[in-house]
């Protein structure tokens, strides 16, 4: 370990999810950069995951409803009845109209207790840990420049996509996505005034990120700035879109339609057909200035940046399909698939 490495106790605490934002962010940065600490933290995390699984495998009755009626007494006298009579009695009881559950009368619990923290897949965890306090992510010398306008949108899309694909439900994840959408919304300015100055492909990326599919009740729906983005993209489209931007616009359009955003029909009419074909995986995409990152030198297998992690998670999505990620943290970050 390095001289400035945190103590083993701190690493264990970090692995267990202890600590607050600034401390966790600083730990995340150190762990990403230090192989020894990362190994130690990973070992702790694996063991903790096994311990949680052990707890789940135990037959400890869940701490669910404190109002549940103790069963043994009922079962004792029911067991004394002949089986047919018992079955008839059970059928009769089940057929009676049910009274409202008594929880509201004497109980205080209307929902099961929150589950223990979900063990997130490593790449989602990486995105969570590298999220800035303002809700955004910073690119590191890549297309995002210093303002994170692209890294944030890509990371948000990646979280949406990965959480659905992997069936991960987590309040931590939902909260991170809300904060990220809030960050993008603030970047867009009042009524989306600032988005008009963005290039079309960035507008499309933001629009995709700000539209969460409505089937996710906690994060569904479009952010208010999404309306301004649709208008801005329609203006771009009227003047002719760059071929590289078309698949992104098509992708954004699909997400905007999925969240019932009004005004999308006009934009769809303005899109060239070949762009739509490309968006379904038939064509390749070249971002106008895809990143030549500055992360060379990181050991393989180490998450080198939130942008890279987001791209890894999104690699099968239409706008990125046809492109392959380069070797981990080596230049170029993206390469066209063979």
């Amino acid at each position: 370990m390095r001289e400035a490495c945190p103590s083993g106790e701190d690493l264990t605490a970090y692995a267990l999810g202890e600590g607050q934002g600034p401390w966790r962010s600083s730990m995340a940065r150190h762990v990403l950069a230090c192989r020894a600490c990362r190994g130690a933290m990973d070992a702790d995390q694996r063991l903790v995951q096994d311990l949680r699984a052990l707890g789940a495998a135990r037959s400890v009755p869940p701490a669910s409803n404190p109002q549940r009626v103790p069963a043994p007494r009922t079962r004792r006298w029911l067991a004394a009845l002949p089986p047919v009579a018992a079955a008839l009695l059970v059928g009769l009881v089940l057929g009676l109209p049910r009274r409202q559950a008594p929880a509201a009368d004497v109980g205080m619990v209307t929902a099961p207790p929150p589950k223990a923290a979900v063990a997130l897949p490593a790449r989602l965890q990486h995105l969570l840990e590298t999220q800035e306090p303002d809700g955004g992510w910073r690119g590191d010398g890549d297309i995002a420049g210093a303002d994170g306008r692209t890294a944030t949108a890509l990371a948000l899309l990646a979280m949406d996509h990965a959480s659905r694909a992997e069936g991960v439900a987590s309040t931590t994840l939902d909260s991170a996505r809300e904060r990220a959408r809030g960050h993008l919304g603030r970047q867009a300015g009042p009524e989306g005034a600032r988005v008009r100055r963005l290039p079309a492909h960035v507008q499309a990326l933001w629009l995709a990120a700000l539209c969460a599919p409505v089937r996710e009740p906690s994060t569904g729906g479009a952010h208010p700035a999404a309306h301004a983005l649709v208008d801005a993209l329609a203006q771009h489209a009227q003047g002719g879109l760059a071929p590289s931007a078309v698949p992104w616009v098509a992708y954004a359009l699909e997400r905007a339609e999925a969240c019932n955003l009004p005004g999308t029909a006009r934009l769809r009419d303005l899109l060239p057909r070949e762009g739509l074909a490309a968006s379904t995986g038939q064509g390749a995409l070249s971002w106008p200035a895809w990143p030549l990152g500055t992360t060379d030198g990181q050991p393989d297998g180490v998450p080198c940046s939130p942008l890279r992690t987001a791209l890894e998670l999104l690699h099968d999505q239409p706008p990125l399909r046809g492109l392959a990620l380069g070797p981990a943290c080596r230049l170029p970050l993206l390469a066209r698939a063979p």
């Binding site: 202890e18 311990l51 707890g55 495998a57 004497v106 109980g107 205080m108 619990v109």
Partner: protein, 194 residues
């Protein structure tokens, strides 16, 4: 119903927050509120459990389990009935679960706690998966095992573990680290960090 068996509530002094206020603070993840609630109610809960047949150790265990469950309910709690009805219902349930668990152990002479789900047909695949870990956990000294059970297996925050065990949070932190290192050694892996 339950009211005849529920101890009378201890009215907090006027300058002390009410139980409902403490629960509301707990819902905001104020761990100090949890500590105050435990301090206020633990002795009565232990006495209540002992009066219902729990032995001294069992009463302590069930009281701990009661407060773990109360902590788990902090976001779902609705203050429209006396807190005591809620608290002692949870305590009764914890005691019933403990008694059932103890009966099962006696009947089946179950092995490590992780295999409580084992039946006469043999342990479930899940239980077998965790056999080594369960045995290693059972072999830890009690002071370390308690911390792992609460902090890692149950997923409680350090501060809550500290409150439940009546030890400083820093001690929880160091014991957890030591415990995980010992567990790894018992499982055949060396300590990756000191």
């Amino acid at each position: 119903m339950a009211s005849t068996e529920t101890p009378l509530p201890a009215r907090p002094p006027d300058d002390e927050p009410s139980d409902h206020a403490l629960l509301a603070a707990m819902a905001r993840d104020d761990s100090e509120a949890f500590e105050r609630l435990v301090q206020r109610w633990r002795p009565r809960v232990v006495n209540f459990l002992a009066s219902r047949g729990a032995d001294p150790d069992g009463a302590q265990d069930c009281a701990q389990e009661t407060f773990i469950r109360i902590h788990g309910y902090r976001h779902a709690y609705r203050p429209d009935a006396p807190f005591t009805a809620f608290l002692f219902t949870v305590a009764r349930n914890a005691l019933a679960d403990w008694q059932r668990s103890r009966g099962r152990r006696t009947r089946h002479e179950a092995g490590p706690a992780g295999l409580e789900g084992a039946t006469s047909r043999g342990p479930s695949p899940d239980a077998l998966d965790h056999l080594d870990l369960a045995m290693a956990l059972e072999g830890l000294p009690a002071r370390l095992r308690q911390v792992v059970e609460l902090g890692a297996v149950r997923g409680l925050p350090y501060q809550v573990v500290a409150t439940l065990l009546g030890i400083p949070e820093g001690t929880v932190k160091s014991r957890m680290h030591t415990a995980l290192r010992e567990l790894r050694q018992r499982l055949g892996g060396g300590p990756p960090h000191a």
